[in-house]
Symmetry: C2
Subunit: 131 residues, 2 copies
Amino acid sequence: MKPKIPVPETLTDQLRRGALMATECPSRDVLKHVTSRWGMLSLIVLLDGTHRFSELRRKIGGVSEKMLAQSLQALEGDGFILRKSLPVVPPHVEYSLTPLGVEVAVQVRQLGDWIELNLSRVLQAHVQRAA
Amino acid sequence: MKPKIPVPETLTDQLRRGALMATECPSRDVLKHVTSRWGMLSLIVLLDGTHRFSELRRKIGGVSEKMLAQSLQALEGDGFILRKSLPVVPPHVEYSLTPLGVEVAVQVRQLGDWIELNLSRVLQAHVQRAA
DNA sequence: GTAAGTACGTACAAAAAGGTAAGTACCCAT
DNA sequence: ATGGGTACTTACCTTTTTGTACGTACTTAC
């Protein structure tokens, strides 16, 4: 007879807690925002402090206004970024990381740093593969 | 007069070394492979040891064969993954991490772990925003 | 013999991401 | 008064990504 293992939590609970390997887990969405090209770079830049919209745009090479705005909104929705709009004209908006945002951003920066530091080794792998 | 700062390396050198904020830097491509949805999850699973293709497919919820193959090939090209094909029929292929791959995978898993562990806090942010 | 599994490649279609250009409403410098 | 900057939004179009379904060549299980 099969030993009956008591189920400590429902599947829904598991998903709420975080189950990246399951398709339907909301963590997949968060992952998408955090690892999106412009999202990642925004988080990294914001670790250096508060920035205005246009400052971010200039620091992040190749980003369009549309995509930057979109990425920032997704991260704001996840509670990673704080948006402070000063009621002046011309517009003045300041973006900064929330405490939660600092935590992810640190993880993201570590990954980004590793890639920057080890790029030459990866490029090595490419040339050896080509040979 | 402006003090002339001697340039220690060319722009090309900087890009080769890794300059994530610059559009044309090859590190952007590596980043893309590593942070791609299926790439990330593959790396994380492979940290647990060697897997066959179909084992990976079953562990990674929602991945199609096509995308899995594609992601694995990209990571293989970057020197992160080793592919060993046994000359038998039916086919038997084993995937594992290279030493370089283990290093990135550790970074990736840390980010993944953070998200899984803190998902509830992010979900909190969403409901508060909705209110 | 019939179905399922193995590790893909390929063709086609759908979906998502991204780029471009324009508009807004007002300020400042030339 | 003309041009540029600010922080976006919207519409439209292109590119990229992803999914679906099928084919392969052969084995094992039923």
